[in-house]
């Protein structure tokens, strides 16, 4: 079990540094959060656009998947890594987001994408408040159990209302790709990947800003010691519910991005396995830092792919080959957690530290 307490993400590194690079880094850190995060997001967005301009359509889809997984995991990061509430059912909010998006596209095709995204956020935040308020008095395994029940039960709604939600076949729809003005410049898949990343990065900016501000401090105080936080005058229940709300909103938005990217919403995409994968990816990426969400998302999409390629190249028996990717992920998770308890982010910052000291 990874302790949630042995890290402090906001503690600034105050050791004096020499050299121009260090000076730049310090000046960067000195910028207010509201400038720093949007700038970083802009840079990341530019990098994604540059990347998709050289990749093919199949790869664009994967890059887009990394984007929405990152958003979902970042929301979970805020909830688990920062406020210390363990949710095993975050796939349920992705489910809500994806179906809201699908229903909007099917029934209100004239609504622009950004409006759909905003409505999705509103709907999933509302669901988050309901669940958060209902579970605010639960913590630890009880909360985990309650959220797990949500992830198990919610997709069954589709079978309950087959007319509206398409039963177990789900909903399929076509989304509009790049606008005609850009028809020759970007392909449909590049446009989709860019839209998903833009949404995910905006969401991430909000999450990071929240985390750097007063609410973030309150959440960390809660995570570290609830009674002490209450004694210090922090409204425990309200802070917990707000954390749940924000995290549900990002989960829902991630689901909407998935629906937009794939043009479908089906119950079988939102099984308990999804919720558990999100959690595993979060732990693998690193608890307690937004970078962890990025590495976790990359691992979620690509480790399985590499596992498949490995299985292909080894020419194993079908049963072994088919299950190898998941084993591969599991082994990687165990190894990383054993060696770097802070996950992939911990590994990378450790390596970066070694390089810096070596210079």
């Amino acid at each position: 079990m990874v302790s949630l307490r042995n890290h402090e993400s906001t503690a600034r590194d105050t050791r004096p540094r020499r050299g121009r690079a260090a000076g730049l880094a310090e000046r960067w850190r000195a910028l207010p959060a509201l400038v720093r995060f949007p700038l970083a997001a802009l840079a990341a967005f530019a990098a994604v656009v540059a990347l998709t301009s050289v990749t093919g359509p199949a790869e664009d889809l994967r890059i887009g998947s990394v984007g929405y997984y990152m958003l979902a995991i970042a929301g979970l990061q805020l909830l688990i890594g920062y406020s210390g509430q363990v949710s095993l059912g975050h796939g349920a909010f992705m489910f809500i987001g994806a179906y809201t998006m699908a229903l909007l596209v099917l029934h209100q095709p004239a609504f622009p994408l950004w409006l759909n995204m905003l409505i999705t956020v509103a709907v999933s935040c509302a669901a988050g408040v309901l669940v958060g308020a209902a579970t605010a008095r639960l913590h630890g395994p009880y909360l985990a159990g309650a959220t797990l029940a949500l992830a198990v039960g919610l997709p069954a709604l589709t079978v309950r209302f087959p007319e509206l939600l398409g039963g177990s076949n789900g909903l399929a729809f076509s989304v509009r790709g790049a606008p005609p003005a850009l028809a020759g410049v970007v392909t449909g898949s590049q446009w989709q990947a860019a839209a998903v990343w833009l949404t995910a990065l905006l969401g991430l900016v909000v999450l990071a800003t929240v985390n750097a501000g007063r609410l973030g401090r309150r959440m960390r105080a809660l995570r570290d010691d609830e009674s002490a936080a209450a004694l210090a005058g922090i409204p425990v229940g309200r802070t917990k519910v707000v954390a749940f709300l924000i995290s549900a909103g990002s989960g829902g938005l991630a689901g909407a991005c998935q629906a937009y990217l794939l043009g479908t919403a089906t119950p079988s995409s939102f099984t308990v396995a999804l919720s558990l994968s999100l959690l595993a990816a979060l732990v693998l990426g690193g608890l307690g830092s937004m970078w962890g969400a990025f590495w976790g998302a990359v691992a979620l999409v690509y480790v399985e792919l590499w596992g498949q390629e490995l299985a292909h190249s080894l020419s194993l028996g079908t049963n072994v080959a088919n299950n190898l990717p998941i084993v591969f992920f599991g082994v990687l998770l165990i190894l990383v957690i054993l060696i770097w308890p802070q996950g992939l982010h911990g590994m990378f910052s450790r390596l970066a530290g070694l390089v810096r000291r070596g210079r």
Binding site: G56, L61, L113, S168, N169, L202
Partner: protein
């Protein structure tokens, strides 16, 4: 604090502008894909792809389909290939998850550059890629599902069905019951999706007044006790099961447990007796009753089918497939009717490729499929004309016997999915050596 907010507002405005060009759901009319191309065809190879559930809940049973495909293609390749080209067969695992289906299908089309798709499996899965395949101009042959949507030539000109659709099959079952068991009290057990609704639409055309109970199940919940109890309570002495194999087996076991013995009438999707025997022994072992005679439990089961079955070892196609399976299939499990299902698909694919000739393009394949007079392994006529992409267009009714070949109760009959009549069909079945599905 003013500047940061300006930055943030600017970013938001840019994002809104970028995504505000028109509604999210509008799709402009795309141009018809160019079919005079030979993507995936080289001097010496043709790449054929498919998406199948190789892992996950749908894998047991269905994973045999791609085993069948691969074995037949290996056999074709070892016998001269298709006009000198070998078939490169690529199967991708989609875990029966539509999101994964979309991903692997794009991969197949863009990265593997397949010439055509063969037998993509599942309604929830394949329905999510049918638009994409038709837009990209990829021939989408013989979809492994009985849903109605594959047969929409206007909308999806490149998609062709395979399985007899659920409504047609249920009409034939309904007529059989009405004619041969006029006093029956019919119970219907169906899967809670298009399998169920489409079947019910067909069944009700013939036995509406005889139905005493209609029960559905959700594939995620393996407890059938309430449904079976309701069927018994309603006094159903004939139970029509529009189910997948696992639920046919569960129905049989649950009925056995409470001492209820209705006559079963099972759809082709749930009546693979080889798979059922395996499932019954497995479920019985889990329940702690190992000495349950699985085959005896299936005795007397009536089912509809359109393909030759492994219980008829004298059939020339089954003989050929058994030889192919023994030689090429890299599998520990025995050949089942699901394997045969895949093998027939692969045989028909090879037949179409042979007929398309040496100058292979996607258009020539489509032309070959639509002009093909499908004489081959199937037991009922096969429709793949320009107007009808329906696949196998009927079924025959058989009864299972534990120690003997199945008894054919009613020869092949065909019908439509609407209110049309059911008519007897003449099928000419050539032997394997009379069919061109490999060679130079």
């Amino acid at each position: 604090m003013r500047r940061p907010i300006v930055t943030l507002a600017g970013l938001m405005a840019a994002a809104l502008l970028a995504t505000s060009c028109g509604g999210a759901g509008e799709v402009e009319e795309g141009a018809q894909a160019d079919l005079d191309v030979s993507t995936g065809v080289t001097e010496d190879a043709i790449t054929i792809g498919t998406h199948q559930p190789l892992t996950g809940p749908a894998a047991p049973g269905y994973a045999q389909i791609s085993v069948g495909h691969a074995a037949v293609f290996d056999y074709v390749n070892d016998n001269g290939g298709i006009h000198g080209r070998r078939i490169d067969y690529v199967v991708e695992d989609d875990v029966y998850d539509p999101a994964r289906t979309i991903e692997v299908t794009r991969d197949l089309v863009h990265t593997e550059e397949i010439f055509a798709m063969l037998g993509g499996l599942g309604t929830p899965t394949h329905s999510k890629v049918i638009d994409f395949l038709n837009e990209e101009g990829v021939p989408d042959l013989f979809v492994s599902s009985g849903a109605l949507m594959w047969n929409r030539p206007q909308e999806y000109p490149l998609s062709y069905g395979y399985q007899v659709d659920y409504t047609k099959e249920a009409k034939i079952q309904g007529q059989y019951i009405a004619e041969n068991m006029p006093d029956a009290q019919v119970g219907h057990l169906y899967q809670n999706d298009d399998v169920g609704t489409d079947s019910e639409a067909g069944l009700n055309q013939y036995v509406r007044d005889m139905v005493v109970a209609s029960e559905s199940y959700d594939p995620g919940n393996t407890d059938l006790a309430p449904q079976v109890a309701a069927l018994e309570e309603a006094g159903a002495d004939v139970v029509v099961c529009s189910c997948i194999p696992a639920f046919t087996a569960l129905l049989i076991l649950e009925a056995q447990r409470i001492g209820y013995e209705p006559q079963l009438v099972v759809s082709s999707i749930g009546a693979d007796t080889a798979t059922l025997t395996g499932l019954l022994s497995e479920f019985a072992a889990e329940a702690g009753t190992e000495d349950l005679p699985a085959e005896q439990l299936l005795e007397g089961m009536i089912y509809t089918s359109y393909l030759p079955s492994v219980e008829t070892p004298e059939d020339p196609w089954i003989q050929l497939y058994s030889e192919i399976y023994d030689e090429y299939a890299d599998s520990e499990s025995p050949m089942t009717n699901t394997t045969v299902y895949g093998m027939v698909q692969a045989t028909m694919m090879a037949q179409a490729l042979m007929a398309a000739g040496e100058d292979l393009t996607r258009q020539s394949l489509i032309d070959a499929v639509e002009s093909q007079d499908w004489a081959g392994p199937g037991l009922v006529p096969f429709a793949s004309t320009a107007e009808d992409h329906g696949g196998f267009s009927g079924a025959l009714v058989s009864e299972f016997h534990a120690d003997d070949e199945p008894e054919v109760l009613q020869e092949a009959r065909v019908t439509d999915r609407e209110g049309g009549d059911i008519t007897e069909a003449e099928v000419e079945r050539p032997n394997p050596d009379e069919v061109e599905f490999y060679g130079g």
